[in-house]
């Protein structure tokens, strides 16, 4: 088997596929990528048994062949090459890559050992443009928990209905929710929890695609694009009743410039405690003062112009959480709705155009 493919396309696909390959595994075959060549091009598949990716790179092929080769090494080689095209040849259990004057021979394994890629029977499916999907993922993925003792929080909740999609993520200290108001005809209402690894892989592949077809089955979800298909197992719920924690009576509103607040938070947090990252927000009528006072390190203070509609108050937040929220909001100004210094704060963009509605909830830190 011999095939010539474009280096740029190969590099992009290999970069994304190597993120699925597990770093450490007790099954060595999982650290390989399955390479299948046919007359239209070459297909790469990788899996960690929870998430599987199959991606095709078009090219001129001469013959057919199948081989499993070490994924990380192949990705490293492709990343290091320079030129327009790469020639891939396979004979026996060896793969040869030639690009310009460089030549690599990789020892592979029999493709028979590679796990069979799953096929799912979908309950419901819909199509969505990749730009919107990427935005939805970006606005929620950061708040996913890494605490494996609460598995339902280790994923993003998708609530799909004919009226649109809502995505929610939380780690128990903060929550992000984004609603897409768009009509999806012939969609069954479902709620699923998708692992963040599948979503970040999807985000990487969706860039430049025309459309993503999302198909949801009982225990799995698949995302089909022109040359790529991603399959993922769903996480088991129940997802906590997040609607109950969205504050409805926070009447003290602080309006502040997003970028100014992000920069001030970043600066003062240099002196924040390395464990708690505590920064205290002191609200004034026309300003917000950020304080950090860490006994062993020092103290920092910065003022930001803001509008506040109630009596001054102090509230402590984890600076990293504040920065994460500010990075995902697209508006110039944000509104932070507060109640008491020990209650949740509701962060929303001040002006939000389009079909997306984004809100974040931040739980404060106990300040003395």
């Amino acid at each position: 088997m011999k095939i010539i493919v474009q280096l740029g396309e190969l590099s992009k696909k290999m970069n994304a596929i190597s993120s699925v390959v597990p770093g450490k595994t007790t099954m060595p075959i999982l650290s390989t990528v399955l390479v299948v060549a046919d007359k239209d091009g070459i297909t790469f598949s990788a899996t960690d048994l929870d998430i599987s990716v199959t991606s095709k790179v078009k090219g001129k092929a001469d013959g057919k062949g199948t081989l499993a080769v070490p994924a990380k090494k192949l990705a490293e080689i492709v990343k290091s090459l320079s030129g327009d095209s790469v020639t891939i040849e396979a004979s026996g259990e060896k793969m040869t890559l030639t690009c310009g004057k460089s030549r690599f021979v990789l020892n592979g394994r029999s493709a028979e050992d590679f796990p069979k890629l799953p096929k799912q029977e979908s309950k419901t499916s819909f199509s969505i443009d990749p730009e919107t999907l990427a935005k939805l993922i970006r606005k929620t993925i950061y708040a996913v928990s890494t605490d494996l003792t609460r598995p339902a929080l280790c994923g993003v909740l998708w609530e799909i209905s004919r009226a649109g999609i809502s995505m929610v993520s939380t780690d128990g200290h903060r929550l992000s929710k984004v609603d897409l108001a768009r009509e999806f005809s012939d969609v069954e209402s479902v709620q699923v929890i998708i692992p963040p690894k599948a979503l970040s892989t999807l985000k990487a592949y969706a860039e430049g695609e025309k459309e993503v077809r999302v198909s949801i089955a009982e225990n799995s979800v698949s995302f089909d694009m022109e040359d790529t298909a991603i399959y993922s197992r769903l996480l088991e719920g129940p997802f906590p009743a997040y609607q109950k924690v969205i504050p409805a009576a926070n009447e003290k509103e602080l309006i502040v410039g997003r970028e100014a607040l992000a920069e001030a938070t970043k600066r003062v947090s240099i002196l924040a405690d390395t464990l708690t990252h505590q920064v205290v927000f002191s609200t004034g009528k026309d300003k917000l003062t950020l304080h950090v006072n860490t006994q062993e390190i020092g103290e920092a203070k910065e003022e930001v112009t803001a509008k506040f509609t109630a009596d001054p108050m102090d509230i402590g937040y984890n600076a990293s959480y504040v920065m994460d929220v500010l990075k995902t909001i697209d508006a110039d100004e944000i509104s932070l709705k507060l109640d008491r210094s020990d209650n949740a704060g509701l962060v929303e963009p001040v002006s939000e155009a389009g079909e997306l509605k984004h809100l974040c909830i931040l739980m404060p830190l106990r300040i003395s």
């Binding site: 939380t170 128990g172 200290h173 903060r174 929550l175 906590p240 924690v245 464990l275 708690t276 505590q278 402590g316 984890n318 020990d342 949740a344 909830i361 739980m363 404060p364 830190l365 106990r366 300040i367 003395s368």
Partner: protein, 387 residues
């Protein structure tokens, strides 16, 4: 930079303070003790010690040994005031001062030589300043670490100054009797003496491994200490374990399990209050139980998960108490020490999974606030009926 530590030990602190207040006590055997007959000896002057009076002895026993002694009740306010004055002098010489007790402390003099001169000069100045400002005599020990400086100040008794040069720790420590070595308590001293180790230098005749096998980490510490090694830093603030000590001397001695458990609950309450005020969670607790006959037993308990709730602390302590309280002998004193802590998470949770625990936490904090504002007894005990 060469490490220099000074250990300052006020000679006969309690008796000297009493003599400052009442000059008529000068030259007489002074015993600072609680009210007779059950009161215990807090401290004794050199004269009283010469008659056999030691700390921890009951007043009646002390009276039998030292019939001519003057028994003075402790005036803790006065002792603390004088102690503050002594440590005020020490603070002029270094920013790193550790107060080991009312009458003892360490100064980390490392790098301060350029300001106050050689460590011997600084020691002499400290001695004369304390004498001038408080009227007390202090002994000063200087060495490269806390352990050796402590031994040096003991050797410097009374009102002298001993500097142990770096590298000369081993020969300095070798002739010290093993029961005078600070890290060896009475029980271990007699055990070591039975093994033929009567002086610190004898420890080094064996290997570190032997001591480790026989005594665990303490054995290792003893061996290294005998070799003049000690890397413990001088801490300006007391370690959490030392700050977190809560004790109650029973009046009168008790043997009833129910009564002792009630005391245990009060100790758990006090410990919980201290933990919450410092925003710490306890991971393990040590219970010290002293019987009326002087025998002392110590036990340790680990909490199932870190916490500061009185009831959970009590449950752990009760388990330890059940293991320790095995004799039908009256108990004189119970003490609780928090041996391992971790900071309380300050991040608030979005989803309250355990509503009951959250409510209890809120209630405890409210009670703590009330107890801080009003005299003891106004805020009720919560969680367990105490008879």
């Amino acid at each position: 930079m060469e490490r220099r530590i000074l250990h300052i030990n006020t000679d006969d602190f309690y008796a000297s303070v009493c003599r400052l207040r009442d000059p008529a006590l000068r030259g007489r055997a002074v015993v600072i003790a609680g009210s007779p007959p059950r009161g215990m000896v807090v401290s004794a002057s050199y004269e009283a010690r010469g008659e056999g009076v030691v700390q921890g002895m009951t007043v009646s026993s002390a009276r039998r040994l030292c019939s001519r002694g003057v028994f003075v009740p402790p005036d803790w306010q006065l002792f603390r005031r004088v102690s503050r004055a002594v440590f005020g002098v020490l603070e002029r010489y270094s920013p790193v001062i550790e107060q080991a007790s009312l009458d003892e402390g360490y100064i980390d003099y490392t790098g301060c030589g350029r300001l106050f001169g050689h460590v011997l000069d600084a020691g002499t100045k400290i001695k004369s300043e304390i004498a001038r400002e408080t009227g007390l005599a202090v002994s000063v020990g200087a060495a490269a670490n806390k352990l050796v400086s402590h031994v040096a100040s003991r050797t410097a008794k009374r009102a002298h100054l001993v500097d142990v040069y770096t590298g000369y720790e081993k020969p300095f420590l070798a002739p010290i009797p093993i029961d005078r070595f600070p890290i060896v308590d009475i029980g271990r001293a007699s055990l070591l003496q039975e093994l033929g180790i009567s002086r610190v230098g004898d420890v080094l005749l064996f290997t570190e491994e032997i001591f480790f096998v026989c005594f665990g980490t303490w054995g290792k510490r003893l061996y290294r200490g005998a070799a003049g090694e000690d890397h413990t830093p001088v801490c300006s603030r007391l370690a959490p374990q030392e700050r977190m000590r809560t004790e109650e001397i029973l009046e009168p001695d008790r043997v009833s399990r129910q009564r002792l458990e009630a005391v245990l609950y009060r100790l758990a309450e006090g410990t919980g209050e201290k933990l919450r005020s410092e925003r710490l969670l306890a991971r393990s607790l040590v219970l010290e139980l002293r019987y009326a006959d002087g025998a002392e037993v110590v036990g340790k308990g680990r909490l199932s998960e870190p916490g500061s709730d009185d009831l959970r602390l009590y449950e752990t302590l009760r388990g330890v108490f059940a293991r320790l309280f095995t004799r039908r002998v009256r108990v004189r004193c119970l003490a609780v020490i928090v041996s391992a802590t971790e900071p309380e998470p300050i991040q608030r949770e979005l989803f309250v999974t355990d509503v009951a625990r959250e409510r209890t936490r809120y209630l405890r904090n409210t009670l703590d606030t009330l107890r801080a504002r009003f005299p003891r007894g106004v805020a009720p005990a919560f969680g367990k009926a105490i008879t």
